[in-house]
Amino acid sequence: MKFILTILLVFFSLLTYSQDFTISGSVTDATNGEDLFGAVIKVKELGNTGTNSNSYGFYSLTLPQGDYTLIYRSTGFETQEKKIHLFSDTIIDVELNIPKDVQQIGEVIVSAEKENDNITSSGMNVTRFDPKSIETIPVLFGEKDIMKTLQLTPGVKTAGEGNSGFFVRGGGADQNLILLDEAPVYNASHLLGFFSVFNSDAIKDVALYKSGIPAEYGGRASSVVDVKMREGNNKKFGASGGLGLISSRLTIEAPIVKDKGSFIISGRRSYADLFLKLQKDEALKDTKLFFYDLNVKANYKITKKDRIFLSGYFGRDKFELSDKFGFSWGNATGTLRWNHIINDKLFSNTTVIRSTFDYEFSVGSGDEAFGIRSSIKDWNIKQDFTYYRNKNNTIKFGINAIHHTFKPGSLTGSNESFNEIILHTRYALELGAYIQNEMKIGTRFNIMYGLRYSGFNYMGRGTDYQFDENGNEIGKQYYSSWESIKYYQGLEPRLSASYILTEKNSIKISYGRNFQYLHQLSNATSSSPTDNWVPSSKNVKPQIADQIAAGYYHNFKDNMYRLSTEIYYKHLSNQIDYRNGAALILNDQVEGELVFGKGRAYGLEVLIEKNKGKFTGWISYTLSRSLRTFDEINNGKEFSARQDRIHDIAIVLMYRVSKSIALSGTWIYYTGDAVTFPSGKYELNGTYIPYYTERNGYRMPDYHRMDLGFTWYMKERKKFEHNLNISIYNVYARENAFSITFEEDENDPTKTVAVQTTLFKLIPSITYNFKLK
């Protein structure tokens, strides 16, 4: 407690008295009224002094009485300057315009004149994308996918083809907190991982934090992906959409009351199965294979100081083979938010979130039928405050409580061979409280320091099992409703600091500790919707990640090019692996199948970006290792995690040839995954069985691939614009290994061979996009 008091004192000892006044307001996009998140507000006369708009476009800046020139700037918009004579608290709402010359030349990304915010910001570099800026990047089946684009940046590694999971700085795929309008998304993939659940049309902004994670985020060990949905046009009606090979999209947006409120509805559905309906084959006709998602959002300004937002996501995948077999899964999230400006320095955001994920198997019909169901459901309440103390200090603090309900599985049906099995529903309460200050010291030094308290109460109603060292049950105890079975808590310090060497150079360092109380169980090479989430319990301890990172940032050629170099070291405690032959589904004693160990990851990341002009893009290189140690695995010796790829390169180039034509290309290379191959074989029952000696002691072949894209912006009308996008995936048809299996030769069972499976060789696709203005 003494410690916490000290921290609070540090925060509030910064309070000083002076004749200061506050400028506050909002920054919005002039064309559609959307809030601009992260717009930079600088004071020309005061060099380093300035602030950023928050995710609701709100900003607040406190300055001494005087005359100032305020500069408002955001990527892709024309910079605005406002001269003010500050003698009282002032509200300035600013609408930024898209530059005319951009509309004419049609450059993809335009940066304002002085883009060195990457140098001067306090936090470690955040990877941010606006879906519009990457729309020409070629993608598989032409489905724009923000998550796939994130995987082209340093430190983010794809889990492979057919897998939307990703690894950040050597952490596991379940260590990424994926938020959609603040609601955690438990399974971010469609079609068994070929696509992510994020429909680019409905998305405004994606930010990835991989180190120096702000204290307002908690719950996962390695990273935060914060996805924000668009609010919808509050000026006029708009519609946009696209027709693709796999799916089609349609988005409608309009004001509810002009300049006061708006809504957006964006839907997407795949239609491979509609083609199947045309088939003569009866079984094929009844086959269903599709996904859909629906994003809806509405917001309304009740008063000048109050605004409410309601947003929701509903997505589902369905796979059915007539009445023989069915498999479906989906996420649903709902977020209700109330923004309240308490005064020009204090901004409040109150949020209630519902977040669910479930999957369902069904087999057979009638008397034969049985089904398996599983789900995770959350109620989540958050209260966040931002206190714009003065021009040098911005304090954020808040609290959060999440009630989790896990239904790990149930088996029901009319098939009398099976007993009805309903695994115990498990409950947990996850708590968080944080305080953080972003502080400027002088003109060169920025520091962000914060502390998060997290607690996790695993509680009844339920049965808790105890296991011996071999995973056999040795006892159990029953707990009644809300009775605590196990309480974990921890303090998570977060710190990042930057020092501006010159206008063009800066160095930054960060340290962060993150607790993770939920764990996803998965022991197959590819991710599956059936990978259950489980809470921390007596047997399963929370995962803890400690990471230190340092970076050097340099802009050259008038900020045309940006170079960032970061190094990191991460230590992971209480990592989870599995006993041989672990049964993870429908197992009430699944915890007995788990083993626990530790991990470490370290690496160097280099990124060179060009954000201006006709020719844009980036080159990303990562040199890294990710290692694990478990007493029960590999005789206790340290081994490579699957994602221990040593080299990882991505090159992304976009060239705007003319107003009507854009070309793009990407090239990816990475060291093959660490993998377990047999070192020998033996015969049993007349079959050859592979003999394994060490965990992940081998490597998959190196992966590389080039994709090309071509976008033709067809003649624009006053109210209508449209384009045609052609992309080619894997242009030189590299046969990348999806898996390598060891088996008997089909033609000669006395011989054994290694067989490589390749998923995608050259795949062309075409997408038509339109927009009504």
Partner: protein, 266 residues
Amino acid sequence: MKYFIQLIAISALLFSCQKVIDVDLNSTNPKTVIEANYTAEDSTVRVKITLTSNYFDNNPSPVIDGATVIVTDATGTPQTLNPLGNGEYELSSYVPVFNSTYTLTTTISGTTYTAKSTLPSPTPLKPINYEYVSGFFGNNGGYVCYLNYNDPVDTTNFFIAVLSENGGERGQVNEITLTDDRLTDGNSISRPLFGPNNLFQLGDTIEIELRAIDENIFNYYVELQSIAGGNGGQSAAPANPESNWDNDALGYFNAYSNSRESVIIL
């Protein structure tokens, strides 16, 4: 046009292709592999001792002759198996005692390996029934056979079901069906035996053998199936199955009882 639609609809997700590749694998010191079965049906203990070889070595597995193999029953009475050559050892007319534990001891040049297995009593099969299913995804239709039995109440039971078609036994690791009563204790079981080649035509004679095994062997086979026949690539962490042999030997000792049923599809 029809083919084009089919191409998009189905192969969109099945663009995959396969080929045999060269992989540079380490060589390892040979390890002892002991495959031992005690079949109550013919009262015979059969043992085969081999060594591991390098994965791409295409010679038959090396065999070990000259080992001493002794089976001991629950009362502690030992009996020695007769060497047959080619790494094989056998003891016939060894009368089974159900629900008792047998110990097998193998001594190879001074190193002794021991394994224990409990022989469950047999669970009788009920007559097989069959049902016609239409084909899908371009496969021909055919008959599916159902495995039928009453699961013994209140005991934990583990089974291997082996199917034979017109006398040809499908007893390989990937062809057998493993089943326990974790989800089905005490029920009347009727279970279709699905599999790539498990659709039958008129006139076929189908036999099903239901082997009752102990829990260790069941777990061993579950792990074995997850790595055999190319399945190892599906698991993120393929590993050697946990053997009931001590001293790091590979293989297993399985004492099992069985029952059989057969049917001609008419």
